[in-house]
Symmetry: D2
Subunit: 361 residues, 4 copies
């Protein structure tokens, strides 16, 4: 492709803002349209980000011939339908986590994209976060020996949008929301060996008034290369976003902390605008972060996906990867529901992961 | 008791040196004898630490009327017999982890001490480590709200003494050796609610040439107050001892790191005598620790136990606590052997924890 | 001396509380009396700390035959007279920084103690702080090579007692208050080579409404062994006490932080009793310290001074050391007043250091 | 300008590699030529970086009509002549620190560029380093109150190229090499108030065998807004590059560390390719950095300068700023030579800064 890749955004909330800002930094892309169903949202978004076209119906966006790539920022329960529609319209697709609500949907999406010969690209930004990329290089270089234990955790005090609290719309709680990151992080870090088993500990520790879903979870994964991985996810951790990882190997160990580990250590008696996502007050001590979307890897991720479209390259993270992640999430809820280690591959007809935990028949 | 408490040490290896040094700092105690079976060891130890009497047979030490308290520094498989003998001789007893090899032994020890009206005091030093004591005060004060998740990990690159590698003598691997610390730490931190379940992930990742036992383990405990606890233990982590804890609550979170979190950050092109236990080389960057036995709580622990004897007070950590820890360790090996969450109370006739993991019939 | 060393405290404010608590931890000392002029203060202090005698007139305390050692916690302008009186009464003396108001006073004090054959011991606790003791061992061991640059800073948001703000009573500002610590720290760390020059930058940056004295200062010292030392002192730094040191040598470097570098990292939405001296609010992030008086070295310092009296040993820090510190402080104010490096030895008849800065004639 | 800005690089060593890599990330620039006098260097550089033209004589490069902007990576003693030549050829200029050898040269350069109506842009990358940019935003937002003390230090174990050790070619030692960064950092951070005085402490502590220049220095600057600034520079600090800054204000304080404060904390028993600039061995503990040129601000700096040329905007850092920095450096050497605070403006005919220190007549 000799020209810039033309992008349509579907969605106008938190994550779509990140997409728009990340795409602005890509010289090879231009965002040409945004679609959002609530009257006024797409228009305001388009004005704010200098996007020429705005629509309320995403089907109209898919009809725009000039668009090469659509980036989805819609609720989980719409992922499947929008993906299938986009594939039918011949658009390449960038999809956020979690892939969709269940494995049948996942299969439909993969088949639809394969048939339409469009790329289904899975936006696991941790695989592009520059500190974690360096961590993987350390492991790949042999600096740490054979991996023994890999850890990753993501913690904050609860999601931005209300639909996350409704297990019927979200499919699950914090494991569904943030466990996805950890699972693909582990696979990528370890070179994608098969996952052989999953164990999960889940609880609704603080937000039982708001959700039936899990607000704290621990996942233990075993890999075919004998490494163990531990994920910690929380929707109850105050004091701002926490995202950190560790790799323990037979010859060494490495600790990488994306937020506190990069921050300016600040004390302010009067406070200021913003320290970090979900930080709460900035009066007193805080950990001031900078250039968040670059440091999380969103810029690098979008540049990569645009490059994949422009030069017809295979993406680093695919729909097939997203399906494995979803399978692990289902297995995790099964484990939480049974108190047992669940071996993979795991097949299930459950409509959503949550049904395997508290709703077991 | 109007005079100093008179102490006899049984053992002359690594941990007995710590006992002797900790007791030197207690104005209320004097060490009057040491017993160690290998010819020459007790004598050398006594000379080094200025102890008046040295013996090869611990029975002779137990016969010394002037001794009030014995502190055991012997292999795990001797804990039961020496304790029973000491109780019969009317001595108060300080016992290191793990309590003994199995639950039948534990019961014998508790009964023997109760019958003899001597104190059975369990030396879980983490309950006295000043940073962790402060952490508990934070939690108890309400600063962190209701506890949701408590974590503790202890990691180094393998034990000092060779008998740890032999599962027949040690009873298990790293879970048996260091998981004990975590379990009692969690109970103490949370105010000793009942433990309702245990899950364990174990592996022999690096030292399969030396041991059949676990050299890496993850434990997940559920408590009756709904808190979850996660322990990580490792015998494969290079770069020096690591001991850290976290308390996540409904109103806050606290991170306490005993080693890196207290150290002098040092770069030396030429190296020096000692950075921290099991640090390996001190050339290049290292994390220099200071006053280790004070910071681990050994001094405070011994002062407490001596005070309990002197003023007939109940110890902070008892033989009953030690038995709960051992029950959890057995349950952990059962879990690792079955891939299931094990509910407590857990009864077993197993001769040692390891038999429930790889040796299951 | 076969019995405990009997101690009298003169003073009942902040520092005397630290003295009392530190002395409680010394098995070789007992505090037998406290004197404080304000009616009721000594009595309340004695009750709180279990001290048998309390007096309003320190002369009465000096008349008590059973007292071996007096520990002074009085304003700077009384140091000389009380020391001279105590020496005349045959008491050994522990003196806080700064030694006194001027060099003539310092000479009187040294002569009085020498003549009376009593020990004049200078309470520079940084020479006993266990982390800094370890730092000195690193340097002495050769781990860092030849010292090139030594740094120490002490910063908080202003002194406890109001007399510190009055340059006529205090003699100076933050350099007089806290620069003393740095100067003796440098001398001790480097093995007490001669100081060849002093340069000082002083300012009244924030508290001009309260004081004419310096509330921020930078000192640069040159030593006869060619090392340079830099001290930073501040009475305007919010967020809690800061005390840290660095040693840069030809073969390495070491960083030691007494407060943030030892703390529990805490987030509390509701706050708690105490994080660290002068921390302000504990709502939000804070750095929780533990066992402060031990970690600052007060316990070890008092134990050492008591031991010096008990066994007639030379103290680690003497009146002569205190006089050198005071000479450097005078030279620093001279430098701030002239904008020049001041070479040592420095002689001056100034009544107090402050007179050499803003009050120059 | 509707097209890309066409850039010529003069130089092919360490800093020119950084320029080339930073410019590759700018969508608005293309590097069209490189000039370097040593036969083969320019060619190899051009091949490595995909640059179409390479030359040995920079005059030839200046004759290329298509070039808009030249970026200089030449020894300090050539800065003046190449700048004057480039201005005469109508090229915009990016200049590295230090601006040149003396103030007469600086004036010639400024006049030449003014006359030729080309931009003289001074490449102080710290003004673009994203963590420091965030630090400035904190200060500008009022979060820290009125600035009282600003600190910045840069330390490593010695320069890359041999000409730095020769004071005749370099003009001075570490103050000339790295003090430049600190001075402009302070001016930028504080909003460029006038500097009223400079004091400097310099020494040749470790490398007296290699250089007469200063290998360690402390600078104290006073600003017209009453803030004080302290710079520490070292060519003797082992263990890898150190670059950190602090802003202490009347309402708060902030600490920013570019290297250790962003790193992966790594232990490797076997070592690996690269931890950080001048790290030495990577066996044992190291602090692994990532995306250095982005984190130092080189990418953002070049993008800014290219944008200034493309859209005819005033650069953030100019030749006039560079001249102030050089004036401060001269004043610093004067101060080191006299032991006095030097007040600004400072005029001197000295041929190079070093002459004011050890070579004073």
């Amino acid at each position: 492709m000799d020209r810039k890749v033309r992008v349509g955004l579907i969605g106008s909330q938190f994550i779509s803002t990140i997409h728009a800002e990340a795409l602005k930094q890509s010289a090879a892309a231009e965002v040409v349209a945004v679609a959002s169903p609530t009257r006024g949202n797409a228009k305001a978004f388009a004005q704010k980000h200098g996007i020429p076209h705005h629509l309320t119906d995403y089907h109209k966006l898919l009809e725009m011939n000039e668009i090469d790539l659509v980036v989805l920022g819609v609720p989980n329960n719409l992922h499947c339908q929008v993906t299938v529609d986009a594939a039918a319209a011949g658009k390449h697709i960038v999809l956020e986590k979690p892939m969709c609500l269940n494995l049948a949907e996942a299969d439909r999406m993969i088949v639809a994209c394969k048939k339409a010969k469009v790329k289904l690209m899975y936006a696991e930004e941790l695989c592009f976060a520059p500190k974690y990329v360096r961590l993987k290089q350390l492991l790949d270089s042999g600096a740490l020996g054979k991996p023994v234990l890999v850890k990753q955790s993501e913690k904050h005090d609860g999601p931005h949008a209300s639909h996350f609290w409704d297990v019927n719309r979200a499919g699950g709680g914090v494991t569904m929301d943030m466990g996805c990151h950890a699972v693909e992080f582990f696979r990528w870090m370890l070179g994608r060996p098969a996952i052989t088993s999953v164990y999960a500990q889940m609880g609704t520790a603080v937000h039982a008034d708001k959700t039936q879903g899990d607000d704290n979870a621990i996942l233990i994964l075993e890999f075919a290369n004998c490494a163990t991985a531990v994920a910690e996810e929380s929707w109850t951790k105050m004091g701002g976003m926490d995202d950190r990882a560790e790799v323990h190997g037979s010859k060494g160990v490495a600790y990488a902390d994306l937020l506190h580990g990069n921050a300016i250590e600040t004390y302010s008696a009067v406070g200021y605008d913003y320290a970090v996502e979900k930080a709460g007050s900035t009066v007193g001590w805080s950990f001031t972060i900078y250039e968040e979307i670059w440091n999380y890897g969103f810029v690098q991720e979008m540049a990569h996906f645009v490059d994949c479209v422009k030069h017809d390259k295979p993406p680093l993270v695919t729909g097939e990867d997203a399906r494995v992640v979803l399978e692990v999430i289902f297995a995790a809820y099964e484990s939480a529901g049974t108190g047992r280690k669940v071996y993979l591959p795991f097949k299930t007809d459950a409509a959503k992961p949550f049904d395997l935990w508290k709703n077991r028949s």
